[in-house]
């Protein structure tokens, strides 16, 4: 919207500027949460939003940052409206910036509807319980933490780990499987242009670009804009899912940059900081993003979220990671040691989890033995990792026969099960491999497996007939 239109409306000069915030004299009828347009002395426009209104002052956060603003020449215009995005099917194939303006030089999109970007909470009684699994072709994911349509499943890893490559490996398979139905919404927050080019090319190569919408805030773009980017993306996602009945996959990267932008505003407001300086409401704020995944009863579309978050210092207790884990329906972690050892995808299976998995696996979905064989693999792998530690101290002579078998299992598990490279496996292949890995372990150790499954699925053991 041009500032001209707004000149008729109330405006104010700036009193103070502090970080991304500007403070104004009070003015009547300013709404909490209202969108403002800030015009600097050179006529440049910036967007902003009212964060606090009182009789003494008004606080506005400036999305593009307060650089270049001054007290004399800058005016702040109140639009009387909250922050909205115009939506239309013509957005497919387009690239927008972090505040929703076209970035690809192809001109404005004529909106079919406008929606507030904050969204509203989905009434819990209207949610449809997700239950369809998505075959990613990655054995560890499909077998151990199955992705479910409508789920929010983040990917975490320390700096330098192939977060993007793993994400794309999953995304490509989803794209292939869903075909026409799928819309991919990509929100990049503070990512480098190298990263962006990688995603762009991958979308292009996989043929998904034409059915994608990209929102992009690069590393050198205004940081505060990152507060908007995921919300624009999710409002767009909800439009395609619930207005147009499409299955939508949303990739949000990097949520760490998002949280850091939030921290910046909080500290400018002099709020009492929580852990590592993040505001105490980080949990609530993140949930207003992640909880926008889901399916609505009686409607066709779905929103599946794969948020990516860098894990600073490989620390799973970092507040952004920790609070994400408390909201999302599981997590996929990458492991530095597997990555160093050359495994791809280097997924750290023990702390990874899909909480919705049980809804989407089993008889008539994947296979009846899925849950139990997955639990068995977990149990052995966990035990195997402990034994490896022990062997490092006391040597492998100290191990019993069964324990040696479990150590062998652990090696095969990493080599064959985890280290699948970029080839994709069907669920039958993954299940087959899983049983093959445990076939040499004595029955009395197979405590997670029921007889009926063993009889049916256990490959014949070398030598000994059952």
């Amino acid at each position: 919207m041009a500032a001209k239109e707004l000149y008729a409306k109330a405006h104010r000069k700036i009193k103070d500027i502090k970080g991304p915030l500007v403070f104004l004299e009070p003015i009547a009828d300013v709404k909490f949460g209202e969108r403002v347009v800030i015009v600097d002395s050179n006529g440049r426009e910036k967007g902003g939003q009212v964060l606090d209104v009182g009789e003494k002052a008004i606080v506005v956060q400036v999305f593009e940052g307060s650089d270049g603003l001054d007290r004399k020449g800058t005016s702040v215009f109140f639009t009387g409206d909250i922050v909205k995005i115009g939506l239309s099917e013509d957005m497919l194939g387009r690239v927008f910036d972090g505040s929703g303006a076209p970035r690809d030089g192809l001109g404005e999109v004529y909106p079919e509807v406008e929606r507030p970007i904050g969204g509203s909470p989905l009434n819990p009684v209207c949610r449809q319980q997700p239950k369809e699994w998505i075959e990613t072709g990655v054995t560890s994911i499909d077998m151990l933490f199955t992705l479910i349509k409508g789920q929010k499943l983040p990917i975490w890893g320390g700096a330098g780990l192939p977060l993007n490559a793993v994400t794309m490996q999953i995304a490509k398979q989803v794209i292939r499987q869903s075909g026409e139905e799928l819309v991919v919404i990509f929100a990049g927050m503070g990512i480098t242009s190298r990263e962006y080019n990688y995603f762009y090319k991958e979308f292009q190569d996989s043929g998904a670009l034409a059915s994608s919408v990209l929102f992009l805030n690069l590393a050198d773009d205004a940081t505060i804009e990152r507060i908007l980017t995921p919300r624009l993306a999710l409002t767009t996602a909800e439009y395609f899912a619930y207005d147009k009945g499409r299955d939508v996959l949303v990739i949000l990267t990097d949520m760490l940059n998002y949280a850091n932008a939030l921290r910046e505003i909080s500290s400018a407001r002099e709020e009492i900081p929580g852990r590592r300086g993040y505001p105490g409401y980080l949990y609530t704020d993140l949930s207003t993003i992640y909880e926008r995944a889901g399916i609505i009863k009686g409607q066709k579309g779905s929103v599946t979220q794969v948020p990516i978050c860098t894990m600073p210092n490989d620390d799973i207790t970092h507040p952004v990671i920790d609070l994400t884990g408390y909201i999302t329906e599981g997590q996929i972690l990458l492991s530095r040691s597997l990555d160093r050892a050359g495994f791809f995808p280097p997924i750290d299976v023990l702390p990874s989890l899909s909480r919705l998995m049980n809804l989407g696996i089993g008889r008539e979905k994947t296979r009846e033995d899925h849950r139990q064989i997955a639990d068995q693999l977990y149990a052995f792998y966990a035990q195997g990792k402990e034994l490896e530690k022990l062997t490092a101290i006391i040597g492998s002579e100290g191990l019993g026969n069964v324990e040696k078998k479990i150590v062998e299992f652990t090696q095969r598990f990493e080599d064959e099960f985890l280290g699948q490279g970029d080839q994709s496996r069907t669920i039958e292949e993954s299940l087959g491999l899983s049983w093959d890995l445990v076939k040499d372990i004595p029955r009395s150790e197979l405590r997670r497996l029921e007889d009926k499954h063993i009889e049916k699925y256990m490959p014949k053991r070398a030598g000994a007939a059952k």
């Binding site: 009547a28 009828d29 300013v30 709404k31 909490f32 949460g33 209202e34 606090d52 209104v53 009182g54 009789e55 003494k56 909250i82 509203s120 909470p121 989905l122 009434n123 819990p124 009684v125 209207c126 949610r127 449809q128 319980q129 997700p130 619930y242 900081p273 852990r275 105490g280 409401y281 949990y283 609530t284 949930s287 207003t288 909880e291 009863k297 799973i316 207790t317 920790d322 609070l323 884990g325 408390y326 909201i327 329906e329 023990l350 702390p351 919705l356 049980n358 849950r371 977990y378 149990a379 966990a382 022990l390 101290i393 006391i394 002579e397 100290g398 026969n401 029955r443 009395s444 007889d451």
Partner: protein, 591 residues
């Protein structure tokens, strides 16, 4: 109606001035949008209000109105089976009003006003009644008789009372002073509902979860906390308790957690059977759902709404279990609101009154002699009208670190501590409750019940299993240093048996059709089998090489006891025990 104007809006906290006679905790209607809120601070002419809905669009100068009353929940038939938000708005009705997404300013009556209930009068004309007395009942669900109680402040002689079909707004009778008697009443959520007195909690809340029923039991009227890092199983345990515990009524509060988890309860409970009554579980359940993306101030309230509903059914003489998932989100809501008030923060930014709020909340649990006369039709006396509220609170410590304020303050109060362990969860040992650090302070008071219902052997066996696990922990430390080979045979055996205890007894899948619920008697047989097997092995020690010790009758079957059908496990259990005993004798003979 008193009125003032908004002076400041900062997220969920709004300030207003000039409201003559406003009191702390009064309910207010804020702005032109008519948002509900509650006064949380009065400073001179200014008040601070926590608003239960998003405050976008409010402006300075808009009106704030109040009827001078605190926030009240409505209590009466029709609560069971309903899903409410944190301020008792029925979410199904809200859906019909505002669609799939919750819009602001929606209002809806907590109870269905039009529905006619069959009221059965039990009090008669001329009876003197007062607060808590039962005047009749309504069959609220196939299994729950909803007793209609005289509200606080009402007493006198009944002039008129008639059975018949009434809505909750129609009087079922009246007192001599013309006070109308109705089937619904209101209660301020922050005030505990009174009872005659608290009594000892000496009956367990049987949960069908072996780790609780055997190791860390919780009595009806007790309280427990389940702290644990994300993904360790708090919600699954809370839901298991809501499904299988032998409470009459369950109040499940989803406080600042996931929408899909509420959906899960709503989807599954109508199809699951109460193991005791065979009726759908939803018939005994009230849900309070204020998910993480719903307004923060209403999240703070949801806990109180939940416990007030629980107390109300307790007052009828029922055993009520309340789950709060997660109390940390409630504490965080307190912190957020306190921050907006610019109060002086205590530990980790939480307000200094965090500890007392937590304590006050858990204090509302308990087993009580209810106010009022006896339950009509019951052969129990007035002082045997006993009800209970059991509270089970999940705690979500940042980074899984239990030294943080919410866990620590809850620990000081809770009678049972069920600590979840990320390491166990990573290896998919569920429930991931750490058996070494968890505890129940109720063992002593519950002993008599266990001895009477399950024989004295039960608690003895529990002690033996616990000793095995503790010894395992000590031995493991040695193994870490020198390896298993250097252990003596009895110690090796102990490690093998400990693994059986962990794997075949403590582990219990919440998702397996049969395993999800384990009758205590079945736990009894499982313990017995493991200990008998242990004894048999011990008697063979030193007589045969160690690697043959475990290969004797029963070994492979212990792990399948969990799958013995719950309605006929006695026969196969006894058969297995017989087989083991015979094996033991054989071994003795052979040796």
């Amino acid at each position: 109606m008193i009125q003032g104007v908004i002076t400041r809006i900062s997220g969920p906290v709004v300030q207003a001035k000039d409201i003559e006679g406003i009191k702390i905790r009064d309910l207010v209607v804020v702005g032109d949008l008519g948002l509900l809120g509650e006064v949380i601070e009065v400073k001179g002419n200014e008040v601070s209000i926590q608003v239960y809905e998003e405050t976008d669009g409010l402006t300075v100068g808009q009106p704030v109105k109040s009827g001078g009353m605190p926030f009240l929940v409505e209590l009466g038939p029709g609560l069971l089976g309903t899903t409410y938000d944190g301020i008792q708005r029925p979410l199904e009705v809200i859906r019909d009003q505002t669609g799939n997404f919750i819009q602001r300013g929606a209002t809806a009556s907590p109870l269905v006003r039009e529905k006619k209930w069959g009221f059965n009068a039990t009090a008669k004309k001329g009876d003197s009644v007062s607060f808590g007395d039962i005047i009749g009942w309504v069959q609220e669900s196939p299994t729950i008789k909803h007793y209609i109680m005289v509200p606080q402040g009402v007493s006198g002689k009944i002039a008129k009372i008639n059975s018949g079909d009434y809505t909750i707004d129609q009087p079922v009778g009246s007192l001599e002073d013309d006070t109308e008697l109705k089937m619904s009443q209101k209660w301020p959520i922050r005030r505990p509902r009174p009872s005659k007195r608290k009594i000892p909690t000496n009956i367990p809340l049987v949960s069908g979860q072996r780790i609780f029923d055997v190791f860390f039991p919780l009595p009806k009227g007790g309280n427990a906390i389940i702290p644990g890092p994300f993904g360790s199983g708090k919600t699954v345990m809370q839901q298991s308790l809501a499904k299988w515990s032998d409470a009459d009524v369950v109040v499940y509060v989803g406080c600042g957690e996931r929408g899909n988890e509420m959906t899960e309860v709503l989807t599954e409970f109508p199809h699951l059977e109460d193991p005791r009554t065979g009726a759908p579980l939803m018939n005994r359940t009230v849900l309070v759902a204020n998910t993480s993306n719903m307004p923060v101030a209403a999240r703070e309230t949801s806990i109180y709404t939940g416990i007030t509903l629980a107390e109300y059914y307790r007052d009828m003489g029922y055993d009520v279990a309340m789950m709060a998932d997660s109390t940390s989100r409630w504490a965080e809501a307190l912190r957020e609101i306190s921050g907006r008030l610019e109060e002086m923060p205590g530990e980790e930014g939480y307000p200094p009154y965090l500890a007392s709020r937590i304590a006050e909340f858990y204090e509302r649990s308990g087993r009580v002699i209810c106010l009022g006369g006896k339950i009509p039709g019951s052969d129990k006396s007035e002082n045997e009208r006993i009800g209970s509220v059991t509270v089970i609170g999940a705690v979500s410590p940042p980074g899984g670190d239990f030294s943080e304020p919410v866990t620590q303050n809850s620990l000081r109060i809770a009678g049972a501590f069920w600590g979840l362990d990320a390491r166990l969860a990573y290896s998919r040992h569920f429930p991931a409750i750490n058996w070494l650090t968890s505890y129940s302070l109720y063992l002593d008071t519950l002993k008599d019940w266990y001895n009477a219902e399950l024989t004295e052997e039960f608690m003895q066996m529990r002690t033996e299993l616990m000793e095995i696990l503790q010894r395992e922990d000590e031995l493991n430390k040695i193994v870490q240093l020198v390896g298993k080979d250097s252990l003596s045979d009895p110690d090796k055996l102990l490690l093998d048996i400990a693994r059986t205890v962990r794997d075949d007894f403590l582990r219990q899948s919440a998702f397996h059709e049969i395993e999800a619920y384990c009758p205590p008697k079945k736990s009894y047989y499982m313990m017995k089998a493991i200990l008998l097997f242990y004894k048999n092995c011990q008697s063979r020690l030193g007589k045969i090489p160690y690697d043959q010790i475990l290969t004797q009758p029963g070994w492979e079957k212990i792990s399948s006891m969990r799958y013995f059908p719950n309605d006929k496990f006695e026969a196969p259990c006894q058969e297995l025990l017989k087989e083991m005993a015979a094996g033991g004798e054989l071994a003795a003979v052979a040796a």
